[in-house]
Amino acid sequence: MKIAVCIKHAVDESELKMDPGGSPMITGAAGKMGTFDKNAVEEAVRLKSSGGGDVTIFTVGPADARKSMKEGLAMGGDRGVLVTADPVRIDSLSVAGLLAKAVQRDGSFDLIICSEGSSDVYTGQVPPMLAELLGFAYFGYAKKLEVSGSRIRVERSLEESVEVVEAPLPAVVSVVSEINEPRYPTLIQIMQAAKKPLEEVPPSALGVETAPKVVVRSMSGQGSNRKKVMLDGTPEEAAAKLVDALRAEGVIPR
């Protein structure tokens, strides 16, 4: 089975700094592989080890995204394709367009795995757009994947229910973090990943128009004020007051 994984070299939110106006300083911020993208790579590598095949990792990102690509290769990807464009400057549709062309250029994939959303902006738009552009079936929010023959069975984690669906391949699937626990590549795997093929493709080679249709005008942090309510009394009294307070706030049903 030929599996593609689309990842994002996301902004490392733990190192993100805010400017004095409360906007995150995206330009020049440190990047890392999106947290949920590791679940996508892990799932692909597991499918490969149980059913055979190969795993190609795709991304649209700046030169620095090589770091995330190498991590994906160390986790078990066989080769990588980095489309060299900065996702900050283009929109989700352009990213999906570039990924679709890159995937098509590389041959016929049976399965494309993405994560539910990037760990920085988390729009979750690219996977369904990619499916539409490729004309593949799309399943979002998968918490379990099974491939048998040319069919895929997906358990979708919806807010209050689980939906089980089946379809013929090819398909695009976005996975949620509960699907697996991503592995840590060992040092040997990291050293070996340096020798795996990692191709860089300029957007011009794919013939995709990347002028954004959606432009982000501003992005700002949202402050939140805590209510800081102190409850006193014996543990029993305090617990009763807490239950009343949570009911009054609508946190638990009345």
């Binding site: 770091k67 991590e71 160390a74 040997i188 990291i190 050293m191 340096a194």
Partner: protein, 388 residues
């Protein structure tokens, strides 16, 4: 608390230009330590969790493979990069760092002095973490004066019979392989003893001041029979081997202490910035700033001394004095830094495990692997023996 810092990146690029792979390797080790080891550190310290599983995972990551040759399942990476990896491990949890460092000292002894058969049989399993190893030199009545060892190995047909005991042995009772020193009529000699040997027994896990994640106990040999092929190298050469093994180990112990100091330092500056007194953060006060400056300077100096000793070792030159300097300075620096950390935290420093454990952990290492006194003796001896 991020473990891999800009100064690590700089040191790697200055010392190993063009080796971006070393940065990637250490970043990956740091990520693993932050996620899997650091959150366990206070639990290990309070005996609320055992280190075995975490140590197994850490060994599987490949930290101990770093300095060993590829043909023995090592990664063939420079010793300096390995020392930095142990520094990061020490910052995450000193007890587990001690356990894996001693484990690797045993593998180093087999690599340097063992036969081809011994190397193939033990080194890959130890460095890849399939077996845990231990190093047994110190005895109840002989520490620095290792030549006075009372553990004896008598010839018995084709093999040897060991009798005696070893004290304060890290990984004792948990290890699969022991690198043991015992005296034959020709003098101190070294042997590989398998953990399953029925002649081996172990004392209780000693209640220690620090490094509580690692197990430390007595190792007893009663009519412990080993085959002739467990003798490592030449009979009577054990003391020379021990000295050489300890030289490398001392660099690593220095690095471990740099890591301990770094962890205590990071906590101190975070606290100093948030704690208010007399209307401002205590980090605004000059006497706190003096501590911050001295702590940081000491850490950087220790890190550089350890890396310098590692670089001399990599060059193939004698590095005994450099290793001793790195260890004396870094272990004593670490104690000062951890003491300052307690002072910065005030009452909270004295009463919070997660602050004072760093001082308790560091306290071992002006004693273990060569006391500060013996190491100063070694450093001075080389300088005074130089021809004018």
């Amino acid at each position: 608390m991020p473990l891999f810092l800009e100064e690590h990146r700089q040191l790697l690029s200055f010392n190993y230009p063009g080796r971006g792979d070393l940065v990637e390797a250490l970043e990956s080790v740091a990520g693993f330590l932050e996620d899997k080891v650091m959150p366990m550190a206070t639990k290990f310290d309070q005996h609320a969790a055992k280190i075995e599983e975490t140590r197994k995972e850490l060994l599987r990551q490949g930290v101990c493979q770093m300095p060993f040759p590829k043909e023995l399942e090592g990664l063939g990476l420079p010793f300096g990069a390995y020392a930095l990896a142990i520094e990061l491990t020490g910052a995450a949890d000193a007890g587990i760092a001690l356990s894996i460092a001693i484990h690797n000292t045993a593998a180093e002894g087999i690599l340097q002095f063992g036969s081809e058969g011994q190397k193939r049989k033990y080194v890959p399993d130890i460095v890849a973490g399939r077996k845990v190893a231990s190093f047994a030199l110190t005895e109840p009545t002989s520490g620095s004066d290792a030549k006075a060892m009372g553990t004896k190995a008598a010839r018995d047909g084709e093999g040897f019979v060991l009798n005696g005991s070893k004290a304060f042995i890290t990984n004792a009772g948990e290890a699969d392989v022991y690198f043991v020193f015992a005296a034959t009529p020709k003098g101190p000699s070294s042997f590989i003893v398998e953990g399953s040997n029925p002649g081996l027994s172990f004392g209780e896990d000693l209640p220690k001041l620090g490094m509580r994640g690692s197990r430390t106990s007595e190792v007893r040999f009663s009519d412990c029979r080993v085959p002739a092929e467990s003798l490592v190298g030449e009979e009577g050469m054990g003391f020379e081997y021990a000295k050489k093994m300890l030289n490398g180990s001392r660099i690593v112990m220095g690095s471990l202490c740099v890591g301990i100091a770094q962890a205590a330092f990071e906590k101190s500056i975070e606290y100093a910035r948030s704690r208010k007194a007399f209307g401002s953060a205590i980090s605004e006060f000059q006497l706190i700033r003096e501590k911050v400056a001295d702590m940081k300077t000491g850490i950087t100096a220790g890190r550089l001394l350890c890396l310098h000793a590692a670089r001399v070792r990599e060059s193939g030159a004698d590095f005994g004095s450099e290793a001793a300097q790195a260890k004396v300075f870094s272990t004593e620096m670490s104690l000062r830094v951890c003491d300052s950390a307690i002072q910065v935290f005030g009452g909270y420093g004295y009463t919070t495990d997660d602050v004072h454990r760093h001082w308790r952990d560091a306290r071992l290492l002006t004693i273990g692997e060569g006391t500060s006194e013996v190491l100063r003796m070694l450093i001075a001896r080389r300088e005074l023996a130089r021809s004018l």
